[in-house]
């Protein structure tokens, strides 16, 4: 962002950065920055809170109202928004088909909630590598790897594990948001990896691929680095 601020300002357009990492703007010195200590991924702070978002914008645009003729100007927003690391309380579907791996059964059971979410939003973040129909097949492949099958012999639909995991998480998160309404930053990540069968199976498959000598980017980015 700070690079683009330099480039765009040099073209004669005033810029204001909503900065999420203070040391980065201190080093890169874009013309005007409002440092906001909000969860990464939420630069306006709180989704669904127009009043709060307007406060951020008012503060950001106030950096333009200055007699200064040079930067950098860095100001701190006066309120901190914390992430919520606790798994969101979201009901999971009951076991339906005992012949299926639990993660596959679970993904199928969330389909109605996912479909309602897509109908409401009119589009979906699922689809980078696989579609919603394929999510249970992905989890079936991860289940096989987690259960001991050699990862090199298991066909993972979508192939690119990073893109596939984007889709699996988007499927679960969109379904969960339909069920719980809203969630703090990271609480759905915690829910996915700590509460769902899909998350647990993903982490087990990731470990199995790592232990089986899989290339670092292939398994590491299947989950956030701290997991």
């Amino acid at each position: 962002m700070s690079v683009l601020a330099h480039v765009i300002e040099a073209a004669g357009i005033s810029t204001v950065v909503l900065a999420s990492m203070r040391p980065v703007v201190e080093k890169m010195r874009p013309p005007r920055s409002l440092y906001c200590e909000f969860p990464l991924g939420r630069p306006l702070g709180i989704p669904g809170d127009a009043e709060f978002q307007h406060r951020v914008l008012t503060e950001a645009f106030s950096l333009l109202d200055t007699t200064a003729d040079h930067g950098p100007i860095i100001r701190d927003f006066d309120e901190v928004v914390e992430s919520d690391e606790q798994p969101v309380e979201c009901a999971l579907p009951p076991r339906f088909d005992p012949n299926l791996p639990a993660c596959v059964d679970e993904a199928r059971g969330l389909r109605n909630a996912y479909d309602r979410a897509v109908a409401k939003r009119r589009h979906t973040d699922v689809g980078r590598a696989v579609d919603a129909d394929t999510v249970p097949e992905v989890l079936a492949a991860f289940h096989r790897i987690a259960s001991g099958d050699d990862w090199t012999t298991v066909a993972i639909p979508g192939k690119n594990t990073v893109a596939v995991m984007h889709d699996v998480r988007a499927y679960y998160e969109e379904a969960a948001l339909e069920l719980v309404g809203t969630a703090g930053a990271r609480s759905l990540e915690a829910w996915f990896f700590e509460a769902t069968e899909a998350g647990k199976t993903t982490l087990a498959a990731r470990q199995a691929i790592k232990d089986g000598g899989g290339p670092f980017p292939f398994w590491f980015y299947m989950a956030p680095g701290h997991r």
Partner: protein, 144 residues
């Protein structure tokens, strides 16, 4: 991630450019984001994509194209304004706090190659030229 940011190698600039804006109530305002959001039917961002996508002012069919699993995507799913505050800008224009909302906005991928030379020399200046063409006076930059 924030801890990592303290030691992140970053490109440096010899100086800080400075452009004076007209009064905010007369200014045309655009958003440029590094959230890799794009319209659902647009080309997706590839990993390491140094290009950009244009977002018309009235588009709400936006999806998150960022590749990193390390930050929260759900805020955007709940309310796109928490990343791309387009509805807020329209409200500010209706209230005559800003002059007008630019017709076109731009999105880049945040996870750029370390030297960021492409957005510094190619795609960044290309977007700046498009913004100039639309008469944009002020750009709000939103990261993820």
């Amino acid at each position: 991630m924030r801890e990592m940011g303290k030691n992140l190698p970053v490109p440096t600039f010899d100086g800080t450019a400075w452009a004076s804006a007209p009064r905010l109530r007369d200014a045309t305002v655009a958003i440029v984001t590094s959230a890799a959001i794009h319209r659902a039917h647009d080309d997706r961002f590839s990993a390491g994509d140094t290009g950009y996508r244009m977002i018309p002012s009235d588009a709400h069919d936006l999806v998150m194209g960022h590749w990193s699993p390390n930050f929260d995507h759900t805020g955007f799913q709940i309310d796109l304004n928490v990343v791309f505050p387009i509805d807020r800008l329209h409200e500010l224009a209706a209230d005559k706090v800003i002059g007008r909302v630019a017709p076109r906005h731009y999105s880049f991928a945040g996870n750029q190659p370390d030297d960021v030379s492409a957005i510094r020399l190619d795609s960044g200046p290309a977007v700046a030229a498009e913004l100039k063409r639309d008469g944009v006076d002020v750009v709000l930059l939103t990261p993820v």
